[in-house]
């Protein structure tokens, strides 16, 4: 048992640690939006779902407002257009890489966001 390898020196450990950390940073960098399915079907799904959800919220909300305030059909009409606009806006945001979430701001006006490489 005497021919065992000597334990690694501190410097050696240090470099190994640094390397490990670097590779981790690398991984966390560009893969920010890797979460969404990347293939064409995934993109199509996303667009479809965004549009449908916007219409559900817009038209459903408009209908509820009408029922609540008795303003038929104006709530439905106005909310239909607002919902469509929100849907298109979300599709635009999702596709142009500003993020999957609504309400994201442009990265270049956002110095505090660490990896603001708005791709």
């Amino acid at each position: 048992m005497t021919d065992r390898k000597p334990p690694p020196s501190l410097e050696e450990l240090e470099t190994r640690l640094r390397k490990a950390r670097e590779s981790q940073e690398e991984r966390s960098g560009p893969s920010r939006f890797a979460g969404a399915p990347q293939g064409p079907i995934g993109v199509a799904w996303r667009i479809g779902v965004e549009l449908v959800a916007a219409m559900i919220v817009g038209v459903g909300g408009g209908w509820l407002i009408d029922r609540w305030l008795g303003t038929a059909p104006w709530g439905l009409i106005v909310m239909f257009f607002l919902g469509s606009a929100a849907g298109i806006l979300n599709v635009y945001r999702a596709i142009s890489g500003l993020g999957l979430a609504p309400g994201y701001r442009r990265n270049d006006k956002d110095p505090e966001r660490p990896n603001g490489d708005g791709h």
């Binding site: 966390s28 920010r32 919220v57 606009a85 849907g87 979300n90 979430a101 609504p102 309400g103």
Partner: protein, 247 residues
């Protein structure tokens, strides 16, 4: 033969409390099974606490590391306290989707009410988090930077709608994927039955084609089951990031 029959909710134990039907259904049964399986995997798998993990332990560790990386990369380093929330969601949805891949089981994630309840939990959690972190400043979220004030009456409702949309799109994405996949499997399987009963001996040969397609689809469904759990939790991470980094 009805491809949608598999989504039927059947009460296992009738129960009515204060006029509400709260029967324990097959859907609820599989939710309990999923939760128990996750619990079992994590507690039994980690029981050995070996330095060199066994099969179950490395599976449990893989899940843990996978979600931990996802939270760190997508929600930022400040989001560590919310890791348990995302982990729970991911495991529950993943096990729900995967349980549905076993024949004769019930896929509870194929019901929009289940996914909507999950998405609504995320939505309420994220909104409360943002309100707690930023107070009333949270509402500046709905007015984009640098937009002219005159446009506010149009922009603010649009932004509010796209914020309220989040749970809807989150739940539709999961439920539609699961339901579409399972329906497709059933429809293709139905073709084989139709061919055999309609074409006789030729049908037995022709009926092999949908079966072959179904084999490919089953593999694809496993991918979808995993991917949708992943997408669901990654979107939760992005929403948490949004709530934390509001300016």
């Amino acid at each position: 033969m009805d491809p949608l029959h598999q989504f039927q909710i059947n009460p296992i134990m009738q129960l009515v409390i204060a006029g509400y039907d709260v029967s324990f259904s097959n859907s609820a049964l599989f939710m309990v099974v999923a939760a128990l399986l996750v619990y079992g995997l994590l507690t039994y798998g980690m029981k050995a606490r070996a330095l060199v993990p066994g099969r179950l332990q490395s599976l449990a560790e893989m899940f843990y590391e996978f979600v931990a990386n996802m939270v760190r990369e997508n929600a930022g380093a400040d989001a560590k306290p919310y890791f348990p929330f995302v982990f729970t969601l991911f495991m529950f949805v993943l096990f729900g989707n995967m349980l549905g891949m076993i024949p004769y089981t019930f896929t509870f994630t194929s019901h929009i009410i289940v996914t909507f309840a999950l998405a609504l939990t995320v939505f309420v959690f994220v909104t409360v988090l943002a309100l707690m972190k930023h107070g009333l400043h949270f509402f500046s979220f709905f007015m984009p930077h640098g937009a002219p004030i005159a446009l506010a009456p149009i922009l603010i409702p649009i932004e509010v709608i796209s914020y309220v949309m989040r749970p809807v799109s989150l739940s539709i994405r999961l439920f539609a994927n699961m339901m579409a996949g399972h329906t497709m499997l059933k429809v293709f399987a139905g073709f084989t039955v139709l061919m055999i009963s309609g074409l006789g001996a030729v049908g037995f040969l022709a009926g092999l084609v949908p079966v072959a397609i179904n084999i490919a689809l089953t593999g694809f469904e496993f991918l979808v089951a995993f991917l949708q759990a992943y997408v669901f939790s990654i979107l939760t991470c992005l929403y948490i990031r949004d709530a934390l980094e509001l300016h």
